[in-house]
Point group: C2
Chain length 195, copies 2
DNA sequence: GTCTATAGCCGGATAGAC
DNA sequence: GTCTATCCGGCTATAGAC
């Protein structure tokens, strides 16, 4: 260790991603420089361009990976049962997935406006697919007569905002454990939508 | 008009604030330059420093004014009646205040990390006072037996996130009128907290 | 109160040596 | 794969003329 030169692609590659994520979450994309990222990684700025074509790609790759991980995990969550059961699964899944990823959540919500238009469109499409998963549960519950929601789209946006907001203030080791929080939120969601 | 020189403090002052708010909401504080603001105002960059001591003060003043306006308006909303009535007043007040101020809401939530530490503390304290107003309503309702919330603090954060999230996606002239939206959200809030 | 001009620094990205 | 060195431009903020 403490080598100043040499090849470290196995180590440096992930380290660039991790460092960029952390710094962008903390200071914002526009406020973080490539030199700053390089310094924390332990290389010179020029070396970063072996791992990303430019700064914009660095941001886009972080956000795309987060959204893809989210969609993959949702599909594996395999929602079953009636609409109420599926809503509980979705709610608990959302919290469990997002809480340990506060940096990713933060960046994915705060840095949308710093994406180039085509990158923005790609991320928005992925986000929309996730929202639609919740909305279809609400629609099914309405048909089944279990839920009573005046407008499924508005309710979808309201619930996701409520759930995601949790990631913005929850801190590990705080007053309440994740399990407790999860149950409190599920309670709020259930009561809000049931007839 | 179209004068290139001269004194315009009455016009330029507010214009600087308005322009800064709009540009920062659109691109982010770090991504917006003083030159850019000056260009949209119609002056040279140096002239901005007649209206703000530096860029940081420009941001802080915008956020402080927004939070002060919010607290002032809340006090005038004069919450009366039982906890349920006061919760409805609060909910409708929140939506009516925030919806026409999407740029202020956006900046006040997104740019917290770009505030200097002392400025951050000041804004956070103001935000906390607003949150506490809602929490005290929830506590009263719990005592009165009207509400059933497992944890007033968590519920406060959940409800505010839900309500404020509305400002992030609502666009005037969209599918639904503000009054309709307001009623949908009040319905969700009421059902989520009542016993 | 606004202008022009500029100081002094930092930004993204690239070239070529090793 | 990483380094050093550099191009070229943009940044905040200030100085002094009008």
């Amino acid at each position: 260790m403490a080598r100043k030169q040499g090849s470290h692609s196995d180590i440096t590659g992930p380290k660039v991603q991790d460092t960029a994520l952390r710094l962008i979450a903390q200071h914002g994309y526009a406020a973080v420089s490539m030199r700053q990222i390089a310094a924390e990684v332990g290389v010179q700025a020029g070396a970063l361009y072996n791992y990303t074509s430019d700064k914009q790609s660095l941001l886009f790759d972080l956000m795309q990976r987060h959204m893809q991980d989210l969609l993959d995990a949702l599909h594996k969550a395999d929602l079953q049962g009636d609409a109420l059961a599926r809503l509980e699964t979705f709610t608990r899944f959302h919290i469990r997935f997002h809480l340990p990823r506060s940096d990713q959540v933060f960046v994915s919500y705060m840095e949308l406006r710093n994406l180039d238009p085509e990158n923005f469109a790609a991320i928005e499409a992925m986000r929309r697919r996730y929202e639609d998963a919740l909305e279809s549960i609400l629609r099914d519950g309405e048909v089944e007569g279990i839920f009573h929601v005046p407008d499924t789209r508005v309710t979808t946006m309201a619930l996701i905002a409520m759930l995601t907001g949790l990631s913005h203030w929850y801190r590990e080791g705080g007053r309440l454990a994740m399990n407790t929080i999860e149950t409190i939120y599920w309670d709020l969601v259930r009561k809000a939508v049931t007839a």
